[in-house]
Symmetry: C2
Subunit: 255 residues, 2 copies
């Protein structure tokens, strides 16, 4: 039995990781009590472990005493595999400059899209994606662009679940979604119309390396400007092709 665990079989490491994992986009700040509750670590143990995590700057305290992820973890996270993001960033930048729109880059992680980079200016509309954030695949442009290139068995199992429906316009009917994905594959790009957020539309293109969509690049615009989506296709596909060409065959996962 390691580390004075009260819960037999639960290692200290797993408790430390449970404490860290209690933070997410919806809970970036937690009191010690909430942290203990969310992680399932007893309060006294949490108190002791948090002190060590704070000392190392893995966690830090806000002015109001609540805990949050610390600078040191941010710094450490920057060492995660980032070849794709480094390669892609200048292309996103150029796409932002060419189109004047917010641009983002996403990869598939499990059944979600994970936003790994975002280029945005002061004038463009804010978008719901957040670097490090996750969204379901079927209601997002980048998600459809990625899902369309997954093997059949993956798509089938994706569609077999109960699909989230963030707006009344989200396509959740499996047959319709399958046809939509076939169209994306045929065209090489995806659109969404208020499927993730009311008031927003998007266009996205997959980054294809050896026939596999390793990531997708997307743009979100206000739905008042939905008719402008087609003019974004060429710049998007250009950027996607440029990134694909610069990517080594093995790159593809990780931010």
């Amino acid at each position: 039995m390691s580390g004075g665990s009260r819960q037999p079989g639960r290692t200290v490491t797993s408790k430390v990781l449970a404490l860290l994992g209690a933070f997410d986009a919806a809970h970036p700040q937690l009191t010690l009590t909430d942290l203990a509750r969310r992680s399932g670590v007893p309060l006294s143990t949490a108190h002791r472990l948090v002190a060590e995590l704070e000392e190392w700057q893995a966690l830090s305290r806000d002015a109001d005493g609540r805990l949050r992820v610390g600078l040191r973890l941010w710094e450490l996270g920057q060492l995660a595999p980032s070849r794709l993001v480094s390669l892609a960033h200048p292309w996103l930048q150029e796409l932002f400059v060419t189109t004047g729109e917010n641009v983002h880059l996403a990869v598939r992680d499990g059944l979600e899209v994970l936003y790994v980079d975002k280029v945005y200016g002061r004038r463009a509309v804010p978008i719901v994606s957040r670097t490090g954030g996750r969204l379901p695949m079927h209601p997002t442009g980048v998600g459809k662009a990625l899902l369309a290139y997954e093997p059949d068995w993956f798509v089938k199992s994706y569609l077999a679940r109960k699909l989230e429906r963030p707006t009344p316009h989200t396509i959740t009917e499996p047959g319709r979604l399958a046809r939509e994905l076939a169209a994306v594959r045929a065209q090489g790009y995806a659109f969404t119309y208020e499927e993730m957020t009311l008031g927003s539309c998007s266009a996205a293109a997959p980054i294809l390396v050896d026939g596999r969509a390793v990531a997708a690049v997307g743009i979100v615009v206000s739905s008042r400007r939905a008719r402008e989506l087609p003019r974004l296709i060429d710049p998007l596909r250009n950027a996607a092709a440029g990134i694909a060409k610069a990517s080594p065959p093995s790159s593809g996962s990780g931010p």
Copy 2:
């Protein structure tokens, strides 16, 4: 005695953190043996703890079997305090578009500058700074811009150390550096001429909130273009002022 520690007094948490802390910009990938050696954790313990860290995606393995920081830590790191970066990013973006140059944002952490954001394009010259990277203060534009606004006691203790000298042009003589910092404070911006890297020059401006430099924004250009640095001052100071105006008084640390 917790977690089967062989080194009395060393907790499991401290060993987990030592394993994570063994990774840095110079060592983004490590074999298990190197990781154990660098962290001072016995190999068998390292083996066991790494398995737990891998399972949680805190660490991941490259194709060659070496370990590196995993996607999950990157994701977690994105939750670190980032108000300043979020606020500043659109301004950096605009600065990049206006000037066509690589732009970066840095804060002081200890005796170093920590680069917390960077906007770069395909055509601009690559710069030595890396998001999440650190450099000494005195040879960098952002570092001088930050150091110039630190209290006297801090500057004195900074200058009292043996100062790094990455190039023959680095200013390390304390008297000269102190005069340089006084000039930066008087002018409100800093220049460097091949002081960090041969072939590169930079210009930087502090982001002043309540008289304190909470961060600095900088641009690096090839030294062949050193005569163009003055034209970057106005855009840099504009961006710095815009970010400062948008910053709440308490923001200032963290990426």
